[in-house]
């Protein structure tokens, strides 16, 4: 009996080693020499065109397979949808509008109606022509009461939305298809976020594909969701969940035939992606953080490492229902006490900057460094404010309020290394001014539910990130009752300015209003702004013409090329 076991075990071992050793020689032709090697192997189109250009992208999370831009709710699916679908307009690196599906547009005198003139030669990837009816269909689709995507607030401002939603009207009265390539959209009031939400935020889907699907069944139409028909530069060919998504160029793309034949977006582990890039298994990846050692490795290997500032900030939410925290001087003292320069230099390795207001330095609504207080790190100044202005007592390295030591609790979510590190820095910094800060690591979904309960004593301080698009409106974040206003900040002056900012479609006219808002927030500190951070794109040098902007990852993807 024993012999049988032993021989079995040995046989397994032998088989294992035999199989591995015969696996080895094969290695050389699968991953040995970048994409050319692989393309030679694959049969089919490669033979016809001679050399297929394949771009291999790494993605640290898998898309969910909801390839309908009105429903996709995670970034990784949205990135892919951006290759397949298009919106009416898009923006350039400076957040200025540029044409996309719409060639041009006119704004009526009262700023309530925008008329889009669409390009006339656009085709869906199945050959059907793209027309204004598709735009109308998409917007009305989102107004259906059974629509379960997350973007219906984008179009609530269109005149006639409510009638369509509650079923009293067949169509949205504010949408007027003038001819096949002209469509006018009228809003109830002037809607400042019009271009951001309706123009840029909504990707247009094909009427002929979706019109026969009842809206309530869309999320169960897996077949259609996983085989999207779009107008964008690429079309989906294969989606394997948790592994990869393959796209091939759309030869009918109206702005020209893309130079890359195929894009394969592969799920990778951020810890081993470096090896895959250096081994030429991957051509490109984008990551949220990178340390100088890694950057040096990439650069030594000839890789192109780029970074760009995101339109986002990390901040410390402050529960303003807490009497001590409601004191503006106390909040300013906290800002002085936190070594935010240190956080940027040690946790972000300098790839970012200290944030002092809601907008980043690159954003058009940023009031300029001179207009705001930079709260440069100074525990002495913090203590001075705390003792002189707030009236607290500092003795034996402890801060006292009416004889009891000041104790605070900071909640912070897991999952972002730099932010987790920032929590510890803040704890240390608060100790220097005599505040005992207790740290509580909370799972992300739990933290957001605590914040959104809006309980007056649900929390004291919390770390969170916030990102926004190309529009300056921050009503959600600082307006009274705003849904992301977790501090529960309320100021009549800010509310009035926010309302004023929404009355124009012209960013140049709006800029002074938002600059004023940014200046007030910098002084009031409804939250402590911590830092803005940069995102990295690592590129194999053979990939050419890539331009990465804050607002779009795949902007101009049709011009990307791979050097022979």
């Amino acid at each position: 009996m024993k012999k049988r076991w032993i021989s079995l075990a040995l046989a397994t071992l032998l088989a294992m080693s035999a199989l591995t050793s015969c696996g080895n020689p094969e290695k050389t032709n699968t991953t040995g020499k970048s994409s050319e090697a692989t393309s030679e192997e694959s049969t089919g189109p490669a033979e016809e065109t001679g050399q297929e250009k394949i771009l291999r992208l790494g993605s640290i999370s898998s898309p969910t397979g909801i390839f309908n831009p009105l429903y996709a709710s995670d970034d990784y699916t949205a990135y892919i949808n951006n290759l397949i679908f298009q919106s009416l307009v898009s923006v350039d690196a400076g957040a200025n509008l540029k044409s996309n599906l719409a060639e041009s547009w006119d704004v009526s005198e009262d700023s309530k109606t925008v008329t889009f003139h669409l390009f006339e030669n656009i085709k869906w990837s199945d050959g059907e022509p793209f027309t204004a009816e598709d735009v109308q269909f998409t917007l009305e689709f989102m107004a259906d009461k059974n629509y379960t995507g997350l973007n219906s607030t984008y179009i609530q401002q269109i005149a006639g939305f409510d009638e369509k939603q509650n079923g009293t009207a067949e169509n949205i009265s504010g949408i007027n298809v003038i001819n096949n390539y002209t469509i006018a959209i009228t809003t109830k009031e002037v809607y400042a976020s019009f271009f951001e939400k309706i123009g840029r935020g909504i990707s247009i889907i094909a009427k002929h594909i979706w019109e026969d699907v009842p809206v309530e069944d869309v999320e169960q139409s897996t077949e259609l969701l996983q085989n999207p028909v779009g107008t964008g530069p690429f079309k989906l060919t294969e989606y394997v969940p948790d592994q990869y998504t393959a796209l091939e160029k759309n030869p009918d793309y109206f702005e020209g035939n893309p130079k890359i034949d195929k894009i394969i977006i592969q799920v990778v582990n951020p810890d081993t992606a470096q090896a895959q890039l250096l081994n030429n298994e991957l051509d490109m990846i984008r990551v949220e953080s990178l340390n100088p050692d890694d950057i040096k490795i990439y650069e030594d290997a000839g890789f192109d490492v780029r970074s760009n500032l995101l339109n986002a900030y990390q901040h410390m939410v402050i529960n303003l229902n807490d009497p001590l925290l409601a004191n503006k001087d106390f909040r300013q003292a906290m800002a002085y006490a936190i070594n935010r320069e240190g956080i940027v230099s040690s946790l972000l390795y300098g790839y970012g900057n200290v944030a002092n207001t809601v907008y980043t330095k690159e954003f058009f609504a940023y009031p300029g460094d001179d207009a705001i207080n930079d709260y440069a790190y100074s525990p002495e100044k913090a203590l001075e404010i705390l003792t002189m202005k707030v009236g607290l007592e500092y003795k034996d390295k402890t801060l006292y309020q009416d004889g009891t030591p000041v104790k605070l609790t900071l909640l912070y979510p897991s999952g972002n290394k730099a932010r987790e590190g920032a929590a510890t820095v803040i704890q240390q910094n608060f100790k220097e001014i005599g505040i005992d800060l207790k740290l509580e690591l909370v799972e992300f979904a739990t933290l957001t539910s605590i914040l959104q309960e809006r309980k007056t004593d649900g929390f004291q301080l919390a770390l969170l990130g916030n990102g926004f698009g190309a529009d300056a409106d921050v009503t959600q974040n600082v307006g009274t009752g705003g849904s992301n206003n977790h501090s529960q900040y309320s100021s009549e002056e800010i509310d009035a300015l926010l309302a004023e900012g929404l009355t124009s479609l012209d960013n140049e006219a709006r800029a002074p209003i938002y600059k004023k808002i940014a200046t007030i927030l910098n002084d009031e500190l409804p939250v402590i702004y911590l830092y803005n951070w940069e995102r990295f794109t690592i590129l194999n040098p053979k990939i050419q013409n890539v331009e990465v902007t804050t607002y779009s990852f795949y902007d101009g993807v049709e011009n990307w090329d791979i050097a022979e």
């Binding site: 071992l13 015969c22 699968t30 970034d75 992300f444 916030n466």
Partner: protein, 320 residues
């Protein structure tokens, strides 16, 4: 025996219901919701509440449970919120991958550890025994992700023999044997790590089980009546050692489909562990409930299997 199995299977039904109630209640009372992670990208609360209303998030727990149970009885496990795909399809795609890895590594580590454990017990306090003990201690102490990263460094980066991660070379469309070979090359490292980790802990069990049996009176009797040592070990001792080993293997069988989050994450292996971890972070309720229920059924069945196997190995055990 047949009656026993039928009885045990019938008992599974109330256990299943009980487990489902506990799982259901725990998952749905945890704070958070499926759209929580979108807060940072500015999803308005109003919009979120509309959606939560539509997916029945605000129903009371008993109502949710009855709705769910009704669907399950009709064979409908529901739609994943995150993937917009039937839960069965989402799970189905990963089960195979997880099973491939865990079945092969469990088989290999069982064979290996039985062999090494018995060898160590028979050669007690010799050089062989010490080597095996030291190796298994090292195997237990080294964290699996560390071992995994180390092996990736050696085999994939330095020697460039094996791929870093994934289950297939993407975009190749291999078929037949070439595909099998490709998958094999991808699974070798995770397989090796899992096998090492499992063998390391199982060797210690088989060794001590064998030692205990070897110390029994009947072994001494068998030896005393003149049977050769080899015969005693193969015939008498081995069979009795199998009982604790069976328990151990059956317990591992129950966890076959749960996957290992760490290994799957390091090697980007598209399996159950990672899927369920993602499902929990995203509060994808239908997926979590079905996934955990599936795992608990596996464990229940594995226990049943172990009980039946005892009877086959040890005729003294009777089921009445």
């Amino acid at each position: 025996m047949r009656q026993y199995i039928i009885k045990r299977l019938l008992i599974l039904i109330p256990i299943f219901l009980g487990v489902s109630i506990i799982i259901f209640a725990l998952i749905h009372t945890a704070p958070g919701d499926p759209y929580a992670y979108m807060v940072e990208s500015g999803l308005p609360i109003e919009e979120k509440e509309i959606q939560l209303q539509k997916i029945g998030y605000y129903d009371s727990l008993p109502v949710k449970y009855i709705k769910w149970l009704g669907n399950v009885l009709h064979g409908n496990l529901g739609y994943s919120i995150r993937y917009a795909e039937p839960v069965t399809a989402v799970l189905g795609r990963r089960i195979g991958n997880t099973a491939l890895l865990s079945v092969t590594s469990l088989a290999a580590s069982t064979l290996l550890s039985v062999f090494l454990g018995i060898l160590a017990a028979v050669k007690k306090k010799t050089f062989t025994d010490h080597i095996i003990s030291v190796l298994s201690l090292i195997g237990i102490s080294v964290p699996t992700f560390f071992l995994a990263l180390g092996l990736i460094k050696i085999f994939s980066i330095d020697l460039n023999l094996l791929p870093v991660s994934g289950i297939e070379t993407t975009g190749t469309n291999y078929t037949g044997w070439r595909r099998a070979a490709d998958i094999f090359r991808h699974m070798f490292l995770p397989f090796l790590v899992l096998t090492c980790a499992q063998t390391a802990s199982m060797v210690r069990y088989t060794r001590s089980a064998m030692l205990e049996v070897l110390g029994q009176d009947y072994i001494r009797t068998a030896r005393a009546k003149g049977l050769a040592k080899r015969v005693v070990i193969h015939l008498h001792a081995f069979r009795n050692t199998l009982i604790p080993i069976t328990t151990l293997v059956a317990m591992s069988l129950g966890h076959l489909l749960s996957g290992t989050v760490l290994i799957e994450t390091v090697f980007v292996w598209p399996g159950m562990g990672n899927l369920l971890y993602q499902a929990v972070s995203n509060r994808d309720y239908p997926l979590i409930v079905s996934g955990t229920m599936l795992l608990s059924i596996c464990i229940l069945l594995a226990n049943l299997l172990a009980d039946i196997l005892y009877g086959i190995i040890d005729p003294r055990i009777r089921y009445d």
